[in-house]
């Protein structure tokens, strides 16, 4: 199943399927936010924004508005 990263729940993980390169800064890609990499939602601040992620071993936080432009594949349950 494919969802946007913004819909991920705490503790859930998925595989990055696509990033919209117009909306996503190069810096985020360079930090490992690339298709094929594993992403886990570690923690959320109040109102689920910003989101504290573990992408392929790199821990970083992004805002929900950015997460909307990242598509992920959820593992089949």
């Amino acid at each position: 199943m494919q969802i946007t990263l913004a819909q991920l729940k705490r503790g859930q993980h998925g595989i990055i399927a696509d990033v919209s390169s117009i909306h996503i800064p190069l810096k985020l890609l360079e930090m490992g936010c690339l298709p094929g990499n594993l992403v886990e939602l570690v923690q959320v601040a109040p109102f689920a924004d910003p989101m504290y992620l573990n992408i392929n071993g790199t821990h970083l936080a992004i805002r929900k508005e950015t997460a909307l432009h990242i598509l992920i594949d959820l593992p089949d349950v």
């Binding site: 800064p25 190069l26 810096k27 360079e30 490992g32 601040a45 910003p50 936080a61």
Partner: protein, 699 residues
């Protein structure tokens, strides 16, 4: 024969690059600025084997050579400009063993520039805990480099690193992958057009706006005309390049690194569960702030009292041992009290920098950014604005420089504009002395009234910053892309050496920076207070003596009268009287007026100025505080520094924009005088109105 080589330390943020720098250079380092810009330049000297000396530059942390900030620009400008006197003979790329994959991206880019590169894998002491095993020989072969496995915490691997640096001529300058495969046709064309240039260098120049200095300006202009691709196409290519590099890195690490997750014990998860918790996270942050303020107040009072007393005795002692005359007076009444006014605050400033350094070093600051982002956004700020606002409590200048990692221009501009409201360490002297004069001693719930007042002033500062940010956000119609990426580094016990060096360096910079201004102003003030025009000043003795002829004053009282009459008719007295009408409604006399005017150079001058002015008027050995307490309001009687005028002064200093250096830095960072002038007039006018209201309501 001894020779010197240039070494550049490069690495992602949070890789312990500065620890490596400190381990190599010790206290043999200096912090300056890159010419023309305000990026901090850290350099030092390190002795290598066989009599080689290395000049080491600690470049700003960056994730890649695609610069997105002024700090990152410095890195690529240096690496692309062979004519720069600091151009490295060898680059040392520092990586963190836990984030090797991401750190290697930058490494592969620097390899493409065909500079000799050594790879440092830092924090090796964590390897076992994280279940990481490295095949160094394989990595060295694949990456075409030499690797030093280092633990700055355990002081391991530094000798080996020095050895590698000394032998830099043996390093390969071959790239480890061919990035031009991402668009063969395009890069072939590029190569054909500029056969003498390095392909990757051309690519970097094409993809970003970097100022490469005057030397190869013509060359670069020629390249700019080669921009045949649209911006979106270029960005897509950059993305392709990044993917390509990661593919190479993944393949290399598949054999070179094994991670046994089962043996990894993670403290991070446990700490994050509490420290970034929706409730506990904020509570802990509040407690930390409260502790800091209480500590600054309580811990530094003993050394401060000592310094205050010591300077008063020094002045007195100098007067007795030096021959009487103008020169002695200048030193004992002008320079020494002025300097005392700055030295006294070293303990507090050092404590403040200590706390900020520990918060940064431990990795906790990033959690604060994460917790505060949503809240700060309501005010038009970013979570990253918290760092400038907190470090603004030390000094607004580094704080404004720390806004550079805020990605959105609007959020950054608002942060720059409101940061001077936070209570910087230069306000601290003013606050402390006035608080001790007008706020009674006593405690409530274990916290002293005076400490609580101080904390309230800090809160007022933050409140003013947030309030004005909210207004600016509503008023300013600025469209700018907003995005926000913040790395959440692993928690670390701060290294004592790193914290100590930060505290020493920053305190030194503060004392010498402010010290110069204060010294100059004290000398000028002393002259202005010791000389005056006309008969009123020059014949003060006769005038006062004849005025008091009927009364039988003791000679001591008479001397006092003469001294204060002289001061009133000196140049400074005349200037002070001229501005008195404007400040009298605020409860100040002309002496305070002079102190406020000279504070526009730098706030901490206030105490030094009063110390100098009062010192000229009196003969006795007294501390600054005792002199201020003894001042009498010339019109209303009673102490000059009473509750109403004290509060009014505190509020004036809380809001007024009184720091030339901050204005200069805002001009540099925003590239126009518009914003600093706006700050100067709006903040100072607001300060005047608030101080006026406070005095009139309280009196």
């Amino acid at each position: 024969m001894s020779k010197q080589i240039n070494v550049a330390l490069i690495g992602n943020p949070n890789t312990g690059k500065t620890s490596v720098f400190n381990a190599l250079t010790g206290l043999n380092q200096k912090v300056g600025n890159y010419p023309g810009i305000t990026v901090e330049k850290k350099e030092g000297i390190c002795k290598l084997p066989r009599g080689v000396r290395a000049h080491i530059i600690d470049l700003p942390g960056t994730y890649s050579l695609n610069a997105s900030s002024l700090d990152e620009n410095v890195v690529i400008e240096l690496l692309l400009n062979k004519n720069d006197k600091d151009f490295p003979d060898v680059a040392v790329v520092v990586s963190d063993v836990e984030n090797l994959k991401r750190n290697l991206l930058l490494f592969t880019q620097i390899k493409d520039l065909e500079i000799p590169v050594i790879l440092v894998i830092n924090m090796a002491d964590r390897m076992r805990k994280k279940g990481i095993v490295l095949d160094i020989a394989h990595l060295e072969q694949e990456l075409n480099t030499k690797i030093a496995v280092v633990s700055t915490r355990k002081r391991e691997g530094i000798t080996e690193l020095k050895e590698l640096i000394a032998e830099y001529r043996d390093l390969s300058t071959q790239p480890c992958l061919n990035a031009s495969e991402i668009d063969v046709e395009y890069f072939e064309k590029l190569r054909a057009t500029f056969p003498n240039q390095l392909l990757y260098k051309l690519w970097l120049v094409i993809t970003q706006d970097v100022n490469f200095g005057k030397t190869d300006r013509n060359e670069i202009d020629a390249i700019h005309s080669f921009k045949t691709k649209s911006k979106t196409d270029l960005k897509r290519l950059q993305q392709k390049e990044t993917i390509k590099r990661y593919q190479f890195i993944n393949n290399t690490l598949k054999i070179g690194q094994t991670v046994d997750l089962a043996s990894a014990t993670d403290l991070r998860i446990k700490l994050d569960r509490i420290l970034t918790h929706k409730v506990w996270g904020y509570l802990i942050f509040a407690v930390i702030l409260l502790t800091i303020f209480q500590a600054i107040y309580d811990w530094s009072s003993v050394p401060m009292d000592f310094i205050d007393g010591a300077f008063a005795s020094l002045s007195e002692w100098l007067k007795t041992v030096m021959p009487p005359g103008v020169f002695t007076n200048l030193i004992a009444e002008g320079i020494i009290p002025g300097l005392g006014g700055i030295v006294i605050f070293i303990p507090q400033i050092a404590f403040l920098f200590l706390f900020i350094a520990v918060l940064e070093e431990s990795g906790y600051m990033s959690r604060v950014v994460f917790l505060m982002d949503r809240i700060m956004r309501r005010f038009g700020l970013s979570g990253k604005s918290v760092v400038p606002l907190i470090s603004g409590t030390a000094c607004a200048i580094p704080a404004i420089m720390a806004t550079r990692n805020i990605e959105s221009w609007k959020e950054r501009l608002i942060t720059i504009l409101v940061t001077p409201f936070t209570t910087c360490s230069a306000r601290l002297p003013v606050y402390l002395i006035i608080i001790s004069l007008v706020i009674p001693e006593g405690r409530i719930l274990g916290l002293s009234y005076q400490a609580l007042t101080l904390m309230l002033l800090y809160l007022i500062g933050f409140g003013a910053a947030l309030g004005s940010a909210y207004l600016l956000n509503k008023i300013m119609k600025l469209k700018s892309k907003t995005f926000f990426v913040v790395e959440m580094p692993n928690y670390k016990v701060p290294l004592f050496k790193n914290v100590a060096i930060t505290v020493i360096e920053k305190t030194k910079a503060f004392v010498f920076g402010a010290g110069k201004i204060i010294l100059a102003i004290s000398i000028v003030l002393w002259f202005l207070a010791s000389y005056g025009p006309g008969d009123d000043f020059n014949k003060a003795e006769d005038i006062v003596t004849s005025q008091n002829a009927s009364e039988s004053l003791s000679s001591e009282d008479l001397q006092q009268q003469i001294a204060s009459y002289k001061l009133e008719h000196s140049y400074i007295g005349i200037a002070g009287h001229a501005i008195e009408p404007a400040i009298r409604p605020l409860g100040y006399d002309w002496k305070i007026g002079i102190a406020i005017v000279s504070s526009f150079a730098a706030r901490e001058v206030f105490v030094g100025t009063l110390a100098t002015i009062y010192s000229v008027g009196s003969d006795e050995e007294e501390t600054i505080k005792a002199r201020m307490a003894g001042e009498v309001n010339p019109i209303l009687g009673g102490p000059l520094f009473n509750f109403a005028s004290g509060i009014s002064l505190l509020l004036f200093y809380a809001f007024a924009m009184q720091c030339m250096s901050t204005l200069a830095i805002v001009k540099k960072e925003t590239n126009t005088w518009k914003w600093p002038m706006l700050q100067l007039f709006i903040m100072s006018a607001f300060a005047y109105v608030v101080a006026l209201l406070a005095y009139q309501l309280l009196i």
